[in-house]
Structures are given as structure tokens and as C-alpha cells.
Amino acid sequence: MRFLKLQLPLLLTALAGLIPIVAFFASPNAVQVQWTKDRLEKYMIIIASFALMLGVINVVQSNVKKIERRQKGWHYGAFLLAGLISMAVVGILGAINVGPFQGIGFRPDGSRTPFQWGAEFVFNPLQATMFSLLAFFMASAAFRAFRARNVEATILLIAAGVVMLGRIPLGESILGGRPYLSHFTDWLMNWPNAAAQRGIIIGAALGAASLSLRVIVGIERSFLGIEKTD
């Protein structure tokens, strides 16, 4: 049992981690190595697809339970299941070309299949709506966060103000049409911002590399639910 719960997962993790590393340093002529790496990538996509089924089953189970027990927010669960079932049915029927559900994109005559209609006129606008909430939340977050409480906050405030002005034509209008603010904004983004981002990226990359090494050699086992090494 310990082999299945601990040693086998660790062995598989080590292999899955080492194969791409070896493939990176191997010559393109090392055909077996490249083939193994390509296979591994394909297998990961297949495994993820099966895991998606697991997720869908969990969604259906948990929402059906919520509706049965009339838990708080159960009507949202009903709405979710209605959307899930309708798009799944329409999509599957379209994929196997049953009746009027021919295909999942545009028909040869240019008309939309039901799946395409749902994706274009329901899903896409909902996605765009959620993303557009960012504009409102950014306004309220900026209003709350950009206060000159201390030196660092003041620098943040000034930089944010300059960049926000520099990104709009109003910044030039204020200076009589001269693009100084826009150019200063570009300088700010190209130099201090890029330098700071690079610093964080380098640190994070080394952190990720260290974590990856810990995972590959089996020291980091948190994904198995084990906190410490033996």
C-alpha cells in the first residue's frame, strides 16, 4: 500500500520531471529521447482530459446534492446544471451529426449550429462581461490603495498617476500637445519597470527551479498530502 501511495507516485514524478530535462539537453538526433518526450506530452493531455470527466462528475454530484437539500444558493446550482446539460447535449449531438445538430461550428451555408449560437451569443458576451468588471474594480481599488501614507506609497501614487496620464491623449493635451508624458511613461515602463520585473522573474524562476528539483528528487511531497520528508 505504501508503494502505491508513496513510492510509485514519487517514481512517476521523478520520471516525468527528468524526461523533459534530458530531452532539452539531448541532441535532436537522439530520436528515442525526443520520441519519449513527445509521447509524455501527449499522455499528459490525455490524462488531463480524463481528469476533466472527474471534475464534471463532481460538479454534477455536488450541485444535485445542493438542489436536493435546498441549501443556500441552490438555484444557482440549478442554473449551472441547466447550462451544463444543454451545451453538453447540443455539443455531443452536433459532434455526431444528429438531426438538426449538424456540427459545432458554422454550417456549410454559413448559418450557425445551436452550439455555435450558444457559444457566440451566450458564452462570449458573458466572458466579456466578467472581464469588463475589471474596469470598475480597478477604479475602486485605485481609489482605495493610492494614498500617500508613506514614502513608498507616495512613489507608487506618483508612478501610477504618471502612467495613467501618459497612456491617454489627455496627457499630451495638458502639455500643449507635446508627447513628453507619453515618452516618460514609455521610459518608466522600459527601464525601471522592466528592471524590477526582471528581478522578480529571476527570483521566481530560481524559486520554481528549486521547487522543481525538490519535487523531482522526492523531497517536496505536498502534492501527495505529505508535509515532511521521512
Partner: protein
Amino acid sequence: MDRILYWLNVLVRIDRRWIFLLIAAGTVVPIIFPIGFKVSITPAVQALYDKIETLAPDDVVLVSFDYGPSTAPECDPMADAVLRHCFAHGVKVVVLALFPIGGITMADQSLARVLPDYPNVKYGVDYVHLGYKSGGQATMKQMGEDIHNVFPVDRYGKPLGDLPLTQRVHAYRDMKLVVSLATGIIGEWWANLINAQFGIPVACGCTAVSAPKYYAFLQSGQMIGMLGGLKGASEYERLLTSGYPETTRIYGRAGLYTAIKGMDAQTIDHSIILLFIVLGNVAFLLGRRRGSAGPAS
């Protein structure tokens, strides 16, 4: 002074929904009643424009739709502008989508918006639509070996070997430029992976949120140009209307959403946010000077 401080404190404690309402008004009104603020061109945008201008009529540009419906308001104008530029300049285009949810719809819709203005552009000769492929980096790398293996047929089911354009385009070596219209990490993959490994110039059109990240790639030369957010898109549209006056008619069309029109809304919204920030800080500093607790919402 007390009265001013009182009202400033009221403003600072304002319910965030009033801010949302003002932002909504600031977005909707300029779209209905365009103002037409002028934008200046930044070097990153100019660089991409100049690169396409230097291409010869038979050169091929790969345009990758790596974004979904959520970022369409920012990325659609960029996509349309790049496609219009390529078609107007006579450069050949290969279109594909790598973003899993909605990428192909964005590609279809962009072509549907742009193509009616270019009746001389022929499918299979001047442009090809490869469709969507999953796999991300693996797909991108395999395209460096042979696109025909990755996309045996195009979006419409035609074998690539039957299309005149793709008969001579097999890998990145047969192309001159990759333009990735990206949200998230796919734009980075093009720069880190494909430019590094295959040497093909890469440019990116990205959301304003991602733009700071991509400046590092511009600096290092891994990207040759960048359209950052709606402003980048509006700058490109401006360049297009100056370089190709016939596009002025297109961009002036009523009912067509363009980045230039969107910039009006962005200008008003930024101004509203800046005004609130300034007033909030004035109240905060005055209050602190008077010894009262700095309000925080």
C-alpha cells in the same frame, strides 16, 4: 475650510457603487458621442508597423489568435488592424488559433470583419486559416518542423497541400514574422520558445495588464514590436490611416468598434479615476495635518 474637509471626507468614504456608476457613464457616453482624442505613436508600435512595411508582397506573416472573448475589446482592434495592414500591403497571411476557449471564434470573426473590405484577397492564395490546435508549446514547436504535420487540413477541411500558399509554406523558415495576439502566457511562449529556437521575429499584441511584462522581451530583442492594450491598438490604427488613407473610410464607419473610439472611453475613465485619487489624497493629507484619522474605504 471645515466645510471643504467635510465634503472631501464624504467623498473619500463614498460607496464604491457611485464610483462604478461614474465609470459606467464615462465608458458609455464617449462611445455614443465620440470625442476623437489624438494619440501619439510609441516606438514599440511603430516598430511593428515598420516591420510589416518592409516585407515584400510574397512574404508570409503568421497571425496567431491567442486570446478569447474576455479580452476581445482590447485584442480585436489589434487583430483587425494587423490583418488590414497585411492585406493592404499585399503580404500573405497564415492565421491560426492556439487559445483553447474561443480563440478560433475570434479568428473567424476578425476575418469576417476585415475581408469584405478587401475583395481582391483570395483564400488559399493570399491567406489561409489553419484553425485551432491544442497542445500549446508542443504544437508551436512541431510547427517549426512541418506545419503540414500539425495541420493536415485547414479550418474548412481542405488539405494544406491543395492550397497554393501553404504549398510553399512548411515551417517558420518560410515565414518572415509571427504576430501573436495574446492574453496570458502564449505570447511569452512565442518569444521565449519560437524566437529563441527558430529565430523568426516575433511581435505581440497584448492586453494592457500584460504589457509591462512584455517590455522586458522588447528590451532583450526577443520581440520586435508590441501593441500594448487599447492604446497600442489605437496607435496602430492611427498609423494605418496615415499610411493607407483608404482605411480612413473603414475606421470612420458608424457602428464599427475601433480602438480609436475606445480610447475616448479610456481617456474619460482614467481621468475620473485620477480625479478621485487626487481628491482622496487631498482629503487624506488635510485630515492628517488636522490630526483626524486618515479615512480609508
